[in-house]
Structure formats: C-alpha cells, structure tokens
Amino acid sequence: MRTITFTHILRETLAAELRRDPSVFLMGEDIGVYGGAFGVTRSLIDEFGATRIRDTPISEQALTGIAIGAAVAGQRPVIEIMFMDFITLAVDQLVNMAAKLHPIYGQSCPLVIRTPPGGGRGYGATHSQSLERLFAGIPGIKIAAPSNAADASGLLQTAIRDNNPVLFLEHKLLYPQRFEVEDELPEPIPFGFAKVAREGDDLTMVAWSHMTWVAQHAAAKLASQGIEAEVIDLRTLSPLDIDTIVESVKRTGRVMILEEGPKTGGFAAEIASQIMENAHDYLEKPVRRLAGADFPMPSAKNLEAACIPSLNDILALARELVQN
C-alpha cells in the first residue's frame, strides 16, 4: 500500500496507458511543459514527447472535433478541457458529432474528455460549474465521475479502452487529496457499477465525485448519533447503476441524492425518478435531493459555501428522513 494524490494516480494511469497503447495520445491547452492547469499531465512530455502530449491553441471546439476525427480514424485521444465550464464551447462537437457516430453511422469513437467540474476554490461562476447535466441527457456519451484515487485509475483505464466518447470528471477539490492505494495500479473498473462506500440500513445517500466525501463525513457523524447511513458512490452516471441504488433503498426506505450543481434540472432528478420507478413501494419517505443553489457559483468564499450542499445540510436532512 501507498498514499497517492488524485492528481498523481491520474498521471500514472495516463502514463501507463500511453505506454500500453501507441494509439493513445493526450491533447489540450497547456498540458505539455506546463503540465495542465491542475498539473495532472506534468512531466509526461518528458517521456512521451510533444507529439503525444500535445498542446493546442485555445480552440476548444476544434480540438474536440479534431480528437473526434482522429478517434474515428483509429487513434485513442484523451483530451483535457481545462475547466468543465469551457466544455460549453465543445457541446456541438460532442452532441452532434461524437454522440451520433455509433448509433447513426456505425463508427467507433474512442475518445476521452477529461475535465474538472466543481466549486470550492473561489474561482467564480465560469470556473466552478458542475455541468454533467449538459451530457447526461445525450444518448451516446458515457460519464464517469470518480471520487477517489483507485476508482479514478480504474475508471480512466476503462474510459481509454472504451470505444465510445467518455466524459471523465475530475472534481478540482479531489486533485490534491491523498488516498491509500495498492502499489500497483488497479485493474480497469467496468462502467455501470456503483460502489457501496459505506454500509448502513437506516438511510441511503447517493453521491458521485466530490460529494461522496461530504456524504461519507456526514455518515460518520450520523453513525456517532446511532444513524447508519449507506453511502453509494455512483462512479459512473452513464451508465447508471440503478440496481445497486434500488437494492439499498429497498432496505432503507429512505434516500437522499447529493449533487453539487444547482438542484433544478440536475442529474439527481434522473436518479430520483428511476428510484421512484423501480422502488416506489419500498419508500418510507419521498426521495429527497440535496443539491446546489439555483444560482451561478459566486466567487466570495462565504457565498460559494452557501451554494454547495454542506455537511450540516446533509445531517439535517438525514435526521428528517429517519424520523418516525
């Protein structure tokens, strides 16, 4: 065992995949010498060179489209969109091109889009958004959102080896976090399998990405108060492992879904709907969503904190859910 940051295991995993398969290459803004805005690709250029660790001009739309074309021709590009907010510029290429390639034309498009969503760093309204909602409703795009180092590595390997476009979310608060992992990189983790991050029979918390940690802290607190919360870490949003959620909800009868992004129109709604469709009769209480404010992320620390679900919000809702 060893400890490693989220950033480092991503880098190790990218390096391993670059070594394994010559058709894998990385492309993005300032990912070469600079190592990316969050340092994930730092030093990779030394081993793999500027051809495979490819800096691009500031042209998100074209760089995404170029990766799509290269992917269809047989490459396995892994692109980095520096902040998830900037993926708005690539929506056309992802929605109208990448997502259509297999279902309409029968072509494979093995493309990974790595990008950091999320607030908590005071970066403001255009550098803090959780925009998985833009793609969760687009058939043809897979979405992975790991919460820890081992999952990040296993899911990234799967993403790179998958023959479809995969959006890979790296919450920016996770980058510097340290995790215990095996010495060797884990095996690829298949998509569509949530992980029960903590077991419990009193209520179910569904989360992904950084919110999983907030949920786990809350669950630990609740445990000290005699409430056993089960925490389900989705790992991938598309495909969604509804079975694991439903299995848990059938036991607990109470469930909350945690989402960092604004509540309205978020992915928690999809999960809530599927829970209702699949486990309605087991619900003791209505499914609850605890999500971000319906407001753009402000930059001031205190305002930002007010827009993201907090530990206290979770504790209060959990207590409400387990009542009578």
Binding site: F25, T51, T56, P57, S59, Q61, A62, L63, T64, G65, I66, A67, I68, G69, A70, A71, V72, A73, G74, Q75, D92, Q93, N96, M97, K100, H102, P103, I104, Y105, G106, Q107, S108, C109, P110, P139, G140, K142, N163, N164
Partner: protein
C-alpha cells in the same frame, strides 16, 4: 481518373440529384436533402486528383462528393429512402452517411461541423505517417463558422495534410457571399494562417483537378494544409421547396450557361473524344443506372426499430 470516367460520373451525380428532386415532389422520399446540381465539376475534379488511401469529409450537400469518391449509388439512394440497405441503415438520411472503406467520412448536418473532423483525420495521417491526404469540403457559408478558423489555424500550425476545399457557390441558403462574407474572396483567408490560398473556376473540371493534384502533393510532402476556393453556382434551390426569392431567374439562366457538364461535354466533343452519339449513349446509360438505383432503393426493406436498441454504443 480518365476524363470520360469523370464525365460519366458528373452525369451520374446530376441525374442522381434530379431523381431526388423528383422523388420529393412525388412524395416518395421524406425528410430533406440538398442537391449539388451545377457543382459536379468540383466533386469530380477533386476526386479525380486523389489516391485511394486519401480521405474526404463532406457537407449537407454531399451526394456528389460521395458518388465521386466511389459510393454505391444504390445504397446512398436507399439511405434517402430510409431503408435498411442504406449506408446508415436509414438512420442517417441525406446528410449522415460514411464509408471509411473508401475514405469517405461524411458530414453531420451541422454547417461547418466536419471541418475539425477532417483536421483530425489529418492528424491521424500525420501520426501514422500514412501519406494520406484529407480533403475537407465546406461551403462559403460554413467558412463563417468559428470552427473553420480554429481548425485552419491548428492544421497550419501542425502542418497537417489537409486540403480545405471551399465550394463557393455564391449562396449560403438565401445569403449571397457578399452579404455573408466581409471579404468575399475566401481564399484570402488563408493568409491569416500563413498557408496557400488558391482560387479556381470550380465549373472547370480540369482546373479543379489540377489544383487539387498540386496542393495534395504539397500536403503529402509535409508542407501542410492549403485552402482551395472553387467558385461555382448552386443551380438548384437550397433544399426542397426553396422558392429562390433571393435571386433572379436571369441570374440563374446565365449560371446555367456555365453548366460544368455541358462545358466538359463540349471539351470532349471538340477534342474528338466523344461524338454526339456517344454522348447520347453515355447520358442514356447514366439515366438507366439511376433508374436502377431508385428501384433498388425503393424496393429495399424498411429498417427494424428493434435494431436500434443495441446499437447506441460500440462494443
């Protein structure tokens, strides 16, 4: 490609497109399509200069490019009929067909949407050292999309083997080039990226072919991309049901005088390659071919909705 083959291909394209316009009027096909009547010399001129290993992306007005590149006209037509035998099994329609086996990577219905895709094919070719040149077709209107600028800058920066071919047919839907482009000389845009910008008469099969041959050779030699502007005219309406209120019938009549097919025909006659009889025969053969194509398409089975379920993702 020998000139006779080119001539016959241009006829095939013309009659294919005319058939489509008829089929829409008769209500035998649905949805929409954009025909390239008047622009056949660009499609065939470009295709004539390419090698089998080369690649091509197209636009919403792409039947001509596809046929010139060697598509099976029957499967292309079947796609317009929404049949199982179509290139996309009826899922794509006119604007969404690919056939990588002949280096044809289609379009996606988004004006300009294939420009970065083609650039990515160029990157792939460079990474593999495959010697493949990619031709990226787009229209004068598409050249106003931001992704044109982004893609050309990157292709030039990385010296990708991509030939950007803009078919300047005078209009983007109802918008004439002078109302859509601040500087209507699209080839001038090449200077912004430090690459060659060349303009040719797109109704002249030979001019197109020769320009492409030369620019493609440069690209293949590692000299990077170029921008080729082929001036032509869209003789048909933009898409079906276009009343063409944005231009005069006189303008159209004078454009018909420059019909690229008649022009090549005249050339073949004047240099003795074809007699009037041979011309009539070639035309008849092309017509017969398209009749068969329509028959094949129309009598093909419908796709089965159940087939969709498992096809969302590649395995």
């Amino acid at each position: 490609m020998e000139t006779l083959k080119a001539y016959s291909l241009m006829l095939t394209i013309r009659f294919f497109e005319e058939a489509i316009e008829r089929l829409f009027l008769e209500g035998r096909i649905m949805g929409t399509a954009h025909t390239c009547i008047g622009q056949e010399a660009v499609a065939v001129g470009v295709a004539a200069a390419l090698e089998p290993r080369d690649a091509m992306t197209t636009t919403h007005r792409g039947h001509g490019h596809f046929l010139a590149r060697g598509a099976d006209a029957g499967r292309a037509m079947a796609e317009l009929f929404g049949r199982e035998t179509g290139y996309s099994h009826g899922r794509g329609g006119s604007q969404m067909m690919m056939d990588p086996s002949i280096g044809f990577y289609g379009a996606n219905g988004i004006t300009g949407g294939s420009i970065p895709f083609a650039t990515g094919l160029g990157l792939d070719a460079q990474l593999k050292g495959s010697g493949r040149v990619t031709v990226c077709f787009f229209g004068d209107g598409a050249s106003n999309q931001g992704v044109f600028h982004e893609s050309l800058n990157i292709a030039a920066l990385w010296k990708l083997p991509v030939l950007y071919v803009v078919e300047n047919n005078g209009y983007a839907m109802s918008t004439s080039t002078s109302r859509g482009l601040a500087n209507p000389h699209i080839a001038d845009r090449a200077a912004a990226y430090g690459i060659p910008g060349v303009r040719v008469d797109g109704n002249d099969f030979f001019a197109v072919r020769d320009a492409v041959a030369s620019l493609a050779a440069d690209a293949r030699d590692g000299n990077g991309p170029a921008l080729l502007e082929c001036t032509t005219y869209r003789l048909s309406g933009h898409s079906r049901g276009d009343p063409r209120v944005y231009r005069t019938r006189e303008e159209e009549a004078s454009a018909w005088q420059k019909d690229p097919i008649l022009r090549l025909e005249a050339h073949l006659k004047s240099d003795g390659t074809l007699t009037d009889d041979a011309i009539a025969e070639t035309r008849l053969a092309a017509h017969a071919h398209i009749d068969e194509v329509v028959h094949f398409a129309e009598s093909s089975p419908l796709p089965k909705p159940a087939s969709l379920t498992n096809d969302l993702f590649a395995s």
